[in-house]
Amino acid sequence: MEGLLAWLIITLVKILVILGIVLGIGAYLTLVERKVAAHIQRRPGPMVVGWHGLLQPLADGLKLLTKEDLYPRYGNPFLYNLALVMALVPATLVFAVVPFGPEFEVLGIKVKPILTDVNIGLLLVFALGSMAVFAIALAGWASNSKYALIGSMRKAGIVVSYEVVITFAVMGPIILAGTLSTYDIVQKQIEQKLWYLWLQPMAFVVYMFAMLAETGRVPFDVQEAEAELVTGFTVEYGGMKFGLFPLVEWYIEVLSLSAIAVVLFLGGWSPINIPFLGFIDPLFFLGPLSPFVWFILKVSLLFLFVLWLHWTLPRYRIDQITTTAWKVMLPLTFVNLVLTAVIAPLIWR
């Protein structure tokens, strides 16, 4: 009974902390995105609300919340609202299996900074990732608008193609680690003194591409396509409902997939790696906090890299995207998978 109570309290605290951090950071990433975009275009970005626009997300949120709540007259209100839930919940649920750091002890209780260390963590991630397509298809369908429908069809096509690619891309690290649990994958990388990036560069590149495609980032943002589709499937949404879709797609999903990429390829919370030799930790002075800082640092660097790509590259056409997925990316991941599967058992174990 005691153990159950402690477990319940710890889990609740973890849920609150993770939700608070993810949603709070998600809101503030809008400011980060605007600032990065602005500086790449040699503008200063938001400067008026707060010091260098630091309060801008709050002002935006207030504005979006106080707007009139409209929905299309001939749309389907139930599906229209369901799409929001379907978008937000799977994207946030992914953080249930993201390990933020190593196990530590508080008041004699061992705490793993991961919500549920299930032994099929990665399977859960990609199952939830493919749920995102439902949200977008429903949003497009329930809006009863041509633009929205075209946008959601495009997105569905992309997600269906890249879901296959991303699943095969992460096979390499899984084979090397021999487990599907995210926590154990990081542990294995630390034990083997090796980030899987060094052995799986091809899988990492493919993973990055698939991540951009799944989250609708440039160069794969055809479902948004401001120039031709207004804003794609969100065109009939207003107020905070409109704000939620980019929040989920551009920030929370990118964040979660970056975290998974860090876990799979960049050794989770481990410091800088020299292959097969060991780890160098320039942040040793932080003591027990250093792994957490490393994890956050890696995720934010990856997120900034995605932003950098977003504001640099032009947009691919939808047929080019699916062609790349099926004709280039998928064969590459097959080659990678076969090589890993043949060589790894011979040399690795």
């Binding site: 990065v36 602005a38 500086h39 790449i40 275009q41 040699r42 503008r43 200063p44 400067m47 590149v205 950098w308 790509l309 504001w311 640099t312 590259l313």
Partner: protein, 207 residues
């Protein structure tokens, strides 16, 4: 000498190593860390070049009229010339040149001593295209276009320039920019100084 007409198609090496991506990314990162070029508008303002085509004004009589044209027109129409007042000789050439002539409302007045003077000169800026034909047509260098470009108003009446406003804009212009050489380039620090020294105001809202 070999002239390069097209970019070569990417080689396989370039495609595998994403060299085109890297080239683009290097450009954006260079710009991201260089200084921003924004003018923070309500707090900072740029002065437009002297030949900017903004709101209109009437230059006033100050002894620098184009001669002998001004004297000829004054003599022909028996205009009463008064220093500090508009140079307008009511020749209607501006209205004649205008593509939307109804925006001008020009009337002259005959004084008891037989001389004439301009009494009404209204320009309705709602109809104006800022083409500057009227300025070209003006034979006495009276009508001109100033650097005032913040022209929003609360009523339609605000956008009608009457004679007093035109003269005021003209006086302001002659005071601060008449002597200035014609600068058209953008990185001219003197223009920043010029704007802050002068605060040209538009007419108050009258109801």
């Amino acid at each position: 000498m070999v002239k390069r007409v097209f970019e070569k198609p990417l080689s396989w090496l370039e495609r595998i190593l994403f060299l085109d991506f890297i080239r683009g990314l290097s450009v954006t990162i260079r710009h991201a860390f260089s200084k921003t070029i924004t003018t923070h508008y309500p707090y900072e303002k740029l002065t437009p070049p002297k030949r900017f085509r903004g709101f209109f004004g009437h230059k006033v009589v100050n002894g620098k009229e184009p001669q002998p044209a001004f004297d000829e027109w004054v003599e022909r129409f028996k205009i009463k010339v008064e220093p500090g007042k508009s140079r307008c000789v009511v020749c209607m050439l501006c209205k004649r040149a205008c593509p939307v002539p109804q925006l001008f409302e020009i009337e002259g007045e005959k004084l008891p001593d037989g001389r004439r003077v301009v009494s009404t000169f209204n320009m309705n800026m709602m109809l104006c295209t800022f083409c500057g034909f009227c300025v070209d047509a003006c034979p006495v260098d009276c009508l001109f276009q100033s650097d005032i470009h913040e022209t929003a108003g609360y009523t339609r009446k605000d956008s009608v320039l009457d004679l007093q406003t035109l003269e005021r804009i003209g006086r302001d212009w002659q005071r601060r920019r008449e002597e200035e050489p014609d600068r058209i380039w953008i990185d001219d620090h003197q223009r920043w100084r010029l704007w802050h020294e002068n605060r040209p105001e538009l007419p108050e809202v009258k109801r």
